[in-house]
Structures are given as C-alpha cells and as structure tokens.
Symmetry: C2
Subunit: 220 residues, 2 copies
C-alpha cells in the first residue's frame, strides 16, 4: 500500500512533448509540412500515437490541419501576435493581482532574488540568461495566483508566440524600459498592492507587444 505508482506517460503524450520542443526550438519551422511516415521513423513510433499527438497540438493551435493534406506548423502572423498579447496582458495582470493578494513573504523574497539575478544578467549583457530569469519571474508570479487554470491558459497562449518573442530583437531602449518595469513589478509585489501590480503587468506586456511587432515587421 502507498507504493509509488510509476506511470510512464502514454506514447502520444511523449510524442506531443517532443513535437512541441521541435516546434519551439525552430527545428520544425512555421509552415513546415509534417510528413507522418518520416516523423514516425525519426521518432521510432507508429502512426497511431503520432497522429493522436498531432491532433492534440492542433487543438492547442500549434499546428494546423488541412483535411487530406496533412498537418502544418502554424505560422504566427503579425495579426496573431496583435491578438494574443492583449489577452496575455489581461491574464498576467489578473495573475499579478491575485499573486499580490495570496503570495507569502518567503515566496515574494524568492522572486526578488531571481529579479536581482536578472538585473545582473542585464548589466552583463547576458541575453539568454536574462530571458530565462525574466521568464521565470513571470512564471512564479502567475503561479503565485494559485489559479492553475490561469497558469494553463497563459502557457497555452504563450506557446503560440514564444518563437516570435524569442527572436524579437530588443533595442537598448526597450530593454532598459522592460527592466525598469520589472523593478516596479517587484516593488508592487513586495508592497502586496494588487491594483498596482496588475496595472504594471498590463503595461509591461504592452511594451513587449510593441517590441515584438517592431521586430516582426523588420523580418518580413
């Protein structure tokens, strides 16, 4: 009794995860046709679990299905980003509001710690590390809301624009602005001020949207 049950995830879930990584990393670029047999060979699984995984990613929006013509990695257009980021602003704002109400001091201190790391990455011009700590801070705050559905919803939307965010080339100015907004965020969180944290997060993601759109425009 009370034995730790080891349930290895079903194949279609594992395949979905691998596909997600391939899409995130850009190895499967937007617009790429997914050839089932080809993918089956590289992954060493049969078509059944692969197709189930493809259906999942399609309902998530990462992939688009073309009847009788297979699946294609979704192309994230400028319009998509324009649609998604205001939604994320609202949701991260709500997350921040709830986090400011519910997070305890020790968790807030943890966020502050990572924030300080982020600042030093900024000062040392370490872009990848900056992005990672940045992402982690947003994640911790959202999770601090205590609302798992909110976390899932944000992650699902975030997944669609992740590549675009990653490739977005920050200017010196937009980077500085983002950092100063983060400073305000942490202050509002430490003050446990829901209204202020919500407002800053909404504003912060607006800034992000502008940065990304500017960057996408250049690349096309």
């Amino acid at each position: 009794m009370n034995s730790t049950v080891i349930v290895r995830a079903p194949l279609h879930v594992q395949v979905a995860e691998r596909l997600r990584i391939l899409i995130d990393s850009g190895e499967l670029a937007p617009g790429t046709r997914l050839n089932e047999i080809e993918l089956c060979n590289t992954m060493g699984v049969s078509r059944t679990p692969l197709r189930e995984a493809i259906r999942s990613l399609a309902t998530e929006g990462l992939i688009e299905l073309q009847p009788n013509r297979g699946a294609v990695v979704s192309i994230v257009s400028q319009e998509d980003v324009t649609e998604i980021l205001p939604i994320m602003a609202s949701l991260e704002g709500l997350g921040g509001r709830l986090a400011a109400m519910h997070m305890d001091q020790s968790k807030i201190a943890q966020v502050r710690k990572i924030h300080n790391q982020m600042i030093s990455h900024y000062k040392n011009n370490e872009v990848a590390e900056y992005f990672e700590t940045n992402r982690l801070i947003h994640e911790l705050i959202t999770e601090g809301s205590g609302n798992q559905t909110l976390v899932d919803t944000i992650n699902s939307l975030s997944a669609k624009v992740r590549r675009a965010r990653f490739t977005a080339q920050m200017t010196k100015e937009s980077w500085a602005k983002a950092v100063s907004e983060h400073e305000e965020m942490i202050a509002a969180l430490e003050a446990q001020d829901p209204d202020r944290l919500e407002a800053i997060l909404v504003q912060h993601i607006e800034t992000k949207r502008a940065t990304i759109l500017g960057s996408i425009e250049q690349n096309q």
Copy 2:
C-alpha cells in the same frame, strides 16, 4: 476553376463535435467513463477516429485521460468554477473594452434589439429564452472585439462551466441584479465607453460566479 470545394469534415472532427454535444446536453454526465467500443457502435465509426476525437477533447479539458484506464468526462468542481470565472471576467472585460472601441452603430443597435427581447423574456418569466438571448448578447459583444483568439479562448473556458451555469438556479434577486447590470452594459456600449463597459462586465461575471457557486453548494 473557382468551383466551390466541398470538404466534408474529417471523421475525428465530426466525432468530436458529437461528443461535445453529448457532454453539453448532459447525456454524457460528468464522471462517465467513455467505453470506446460502445461509443464506436453507437456512432458507427472505428476506434481510430474516435480516439483522435477523445484526445482533442482531452486537451480542451472537457475530458480527462487516465492512462490504461480510458477517458472520463471531466467533473467540474466548485474549485474549477472558482478558478475559471475570474478568468472569464477578465477576458469578457477585455472583449467589452475592445468592442466599445471598435463596434459600429449598426452592430450596437443589433445588440440593443436583442437586449430588449431579453428584457421581455425576463418580464414574462421565460427562463430558457432569457438564457439564450443573454448568451447571444455576450457572444455579440465578445465578437465585436474583433479578436478571434479572444473569442476562442472565452469559448473554450465557457465550455467547461456551461453545464454548471445552465443548472444554476437563479433567485429572484440575483436575476434582477443580472438584468440591471445588462441594462448598464448596453448603456456603456451605446456610449462607446470602454472603461465603463469593461468594469461592468467584470462585475457582472462576479455576480454570475456568486450565483453559480451558491447553486453548486446546494446540489452537493
């Protein structure tokens, strides 16, 4: 050339739709185990497209997968409703804000017309018709945002609590309150006042949450 291409939806999509309807209508009640062969027989399809459909509904959250033990219609708990409705409040608020900015007068007039129908259903105590016109108004406003991703996101969340909302027994007072809030909504929309419409919608869904939670509590 230019011939109208008739693409009948893939089987797994059709099956997913039928399952969705069965779940919505309550014929497949929360907690019901989905027996694959049984469902295959009633629907007249093989297991492959059925399983693909089940995977889709699972990523939507309408169904839960238990590895090696099949799929179960998700049970919407009180906690789930408590999590989902604040998210919907934020999103419908955003939808209202955008709608107040983008909807033209003719569309606003259309909403007013349906609002008037809803009011008369309220006065005549026609509950089903009231619910339907109510739902339609929210849908029109959200669609008026012009943000399809927002519409999809709200629908996806809405699907999870739909049954709970339907069964929620309104008291005389909560019903009256909902109606008066709707009156304010329409006024804010006609005044094209984004801030006000957003605030009212957020408040309105808070009211709804209270109603539903009160109702769920009684039934358990």
